[in-house]
Structures are given as structure tokens and as C-alpha cells.
Homo-oligomer: 151 residues x 4
């Protein structure tokens, strides 16, 4: 994961409340950091279509999350959380994450979201509007799930 | 604060995620413990009127919270969180809290809630139904705010 | 994942603070639930060797965590979090998790821990004492990573 | 509480994970926001004495915290958290907090810290170095507890 592949990189400072007895950020909080970075991602791609995007992401549900821990962040350190859309499926989109402290790559991750229609509770195709907004923003083209792949 | 004054005492075990670098529960989490104990309080007084109470507490808003720290809880310790209604005002109710580890009294606290009417966003009288439910459950009679006292 | 394969199943009630604006448990908190269940696991296998196990798990570091979301837990619901050791490597152990609400399987997950020697910061073999404690407790025999597989 | 009385004002954005089912920041998190602002305060007064201040604040323990809720912050809103030392006692110092969204004053609060000697677990006088650092930074002079007042 190269920093320059990420259009969206969000700096944060580690809070006291996020650090555990081992002196490192508690493992679940990195997933919360990912989620915090995603808010910046939505903002970045929403320009001029704020309402549509806001409506839409309330209908996205996480179906899978993965975190890989290469290193640890500590209290009061500045970190950067990068996020990008790495893959589109019919009704899913996969975000990829990386967390750095300076040049050091601490954390990798992935979150798969599924788009669900509001009334029914079943998956619905990712709207073209969202796909276009992502493609217009990203530096690298997300993979598209091969035809025939479920979701 | 005597344990025997509390009809509602909720045991919890301190979680790893709640303990900070000093090896003690992070100070804000005690407020979350209070909130967790309140869920047990609502359950206790709701028997036979579940729907009314549930509708009601969604319209209660915290206006003031106080925590006093006499001691610290540590990872994996069993604690008990007691909560009782200590005072009624016209549109407010004040919960009192205590946290013990065994016989040791670690934390005291208070949360003042105000009842707000759903449509308008201003305070509304505490419904008699709620007052009755509390009085039927508590071991000691809550104070009533003196006449003329706002809220 | 069958409930009966889990020797360690920990009941919890969803807290208000854990539920988000969509009315479901915030995705990162399931990882915290896993961690909370693990505390019960350590307790269960520690009987008679409390000190050794406590020293040891302070030297275990998470290297990978995965959460799969099949359903959502809501405020005040009782859930059960099961955890078991699914696999041993030379210096790693993999926990498997499942969360149920009644018979409904909501969440699956996995956390890989690596054992690190205290002085040096590099991986060290899982002590036999820990392996024995796990084997003596589990209902199913964890896989052992095949020879030659790193970690 | 006037914004211009605060030398230390820290902007933050409300995170998804911090908002509850009522669509507002969960009440305990404001206490965490205070704590986050304090980290900025320590940084601000530490210039040139980083090590001494860092050693020192690890020996400060919260003895009382108060939060008053005048309004609510919502998801993704930018807020400002101001903190200042309002009062010194012999071994205590009291921080005052305010949270604004733009010109609107949402939250007030106070945290009382006590300085404890490392070996013994009893209160110790606030070191002159800390008092000087605070006085050199603040815009308004903190009150000193009257003689004879405990702590």
C-alpha cells in the first residue's frame, strides 16, 4: 500500500481514551479510525451532491471488516488514516485502509459494505451516481468484481 | 450512600477496553457505567408497562452529570453499580449513583434528566405514570423539588 | 459454527452507548465484544495457574482481526459471545468467535495473536503450559499449523 | 464562559461512533472530549519542559467531573472544545471546559485533578513548575483556593 495511491488521507491524533494498559491503541479502535476516515471520504466525494450521498450511505451496511496489525500507535502520536475504494461488486463496495505514523506503515484493513434498499432489507445495486463519484475522485481505478460473482 | 438504599444494583465486570495507561478505568467510562445501570432501572420499573416506559425514556435528555472519584476500578474486577431516583422536579428527575467493589465505595454520581415533549423541544411535566412506577419500586422516597423551583 | 463446539460462551447485554444512529451496534464494538469474551476464556483456563496465564497474555499481541456481519444486534438485546481457540502456530494462536441472539447467528470473527518475548520484541514459541491449558479446556482439538508454515 | 477567555481551544469533528440512537453525541463522550482537549493543553504549556510535564500529568488523578448539557452535538459537526485552569488548590487544580458549535455554547464542564506523590498514594502539593507554566499560558488568572480550604 503506497501512500500516493490514496486520495483521502486523514490525520488524527491518538487520544488517551483509546490507549490500553499495554500502552498501545486498543485493537478495536483501529476499526473506529477507519470509520472516521470514511466520513472524510464521503465528504470529499459529496461536493455538489451532498444530499444524495448522505441518503445513500445510511443504507450501506458493513458485511466484513479486516484489520492487520503491523505496528502499534501510542498515546498522543499523530497518525494518518488513508482510505480508498478498492473494489466494486454489483451491490457491494470494498474500502481499503492503511494507517501510517510518518513513513511507518502500522495498520492495513478492509471493510466491505453492501447497499441495501430502504424498504426491503435486501441488497440492491450500487447506484451509478455513487460509482461515478468514486471514479471521479480516486487516483487508481477500483477493481470491478467479475461478472457472475455474487453480490 | 448505603447499598441498602438502592433497589437497583447492577453487577458488571471491568473490560480491558475500559482501562487506560494508568491501569484504571478511564474517567468518562464511569458515566457510561451509570447509563448502563439505568437500562436495568428502566427494565425493573417497566414490568407491565414496557411500551409506555420505552416511549418515555427516549424523550428524556441529560442536562447535568456529576461523577466523584473516591477510588479506581481495575481490569477484570467485578463492580456493582447502584442507581436510584433521588429527586423529582416538575419536568426533571435526578438519578443518584454509586459504584462499589465489594464493600469499598469507589464512585458517586448524579445525572439530571429533563422530560421533553416530542414535537416541541421544550420541557414537559414528568408523567404521573413514570412517577408512580418509580415510587412503587424505590426503597426510599425521592425528594420532590420545592414549589417554585424552576424545572 | 455450532454453539456446542464452544466451551466458552459469554452472555452480554447491548449497551446504549454501543448502538449507533442506524439503531444497530457500531461495527467496531463487536471486536470489543470479542475481546471481552476472551477475558472469560483466560479466566476459564487459568484455574490453578492464574499468575502464569496473566503474565502470558500481557505478551500476546493481536496481528489480525476479522469480523463478518450476518445480522445486527440492537439496544438492550441479550447476546452470547462464544470464543474458542481454533488453531495453533509456532508462536501464534487463532481465536474464533461467534455471536448469537438466541438461535440466530449474527456475527463471526477471528483474532490471531502472536506471543512475543518480553525483552526482545520478536515472536516467541507459544509456551507448552498455555497449549496444555487450552487443550484441557476445549471441546474440539484446535488445528496445528502444518510444519514449515511461518508462525 | 466567553470564548476569548480560553487560550486553548481545540477543534474536533463528531465521529459516527460517538453518536447514539437519539442522533446526538452520547452523554459520556463529552467527558472524553474534555480529556482530549486537555492533551492539547499539556502540549501548549509543555514547550521547553516536555519531560517534566509528561511525568507530572501521569500523577494527576481526577477526583470530580461535572458536565452541563445546554445543547447537543450531532454527527459530523465541527465543534470547539475550550479548556482553561480555573482554580488552584494546594494539591488540586480545576479545569473548566466549554464546547461550542460556532457561536452556540453547547456544553459546560469542570474536572478537578489531584496531584499524588508517586510512591505514596496520597495528595502532594502542585509543583511550582506546573503552576508557573499555567500562569504563563492562561489569559485570565486562575483562582487560588482560600487558605484553610482542604486540598
Amino acid at each position: 500500500m503506497k501512500k500516493e495511491d490514496f486520495a483521502c488521507i486523514h490525520p488524527m491524533r491518538v487520544r488517551w481514551a483509546e490507549v490500553d494498559m499495554q500502552g498501545v491503541v486498543f485493537n478495536a479502535h483501529y476499526l473506529m479510525y477507519f470509520d472516521t476516515a470514511i466520513a472524510e471520504y464521503w465528504r470529499a466525494i459529496s461536493v455538489g451532491r451532498e444530499k444524495e450521498i448522505a441518503d445513500l450511505y445510511m443504507r450501506l451496511y458493513v458485511v466484513k471488516a479486516t484489520v492487520e496489525y503491523h505496528g502499534s500507535a501510542h498515546y498522543d502520536e499523530m497518525i494518518e488514516v488513508g482510505c480508498r475504494v478498492a473494489r466494486f461488486g454489483r451491490s457491494s463496495m470494498t474500502f481499503q485502509f492503511a494507517i501510517w505514523r510518518g513513513a511507518e506503515h502500522l495498520i492495513s484493513g478492509e471493510i466491505v459494505y453492501v447497499h441495501a434498499a430502504p424498504e426491503e432489507k435486501k441488497s440492491a445495486p450500487i447506484p451509478d451516481m455513487l460509482r461515478d463519484a468514486v471514479l471521479g475522485y480516486e487516483r487508481t481505478v477500483p477493481d470491478a468484481a467479475a461478472a457472475g460473482v455474487p453480490r
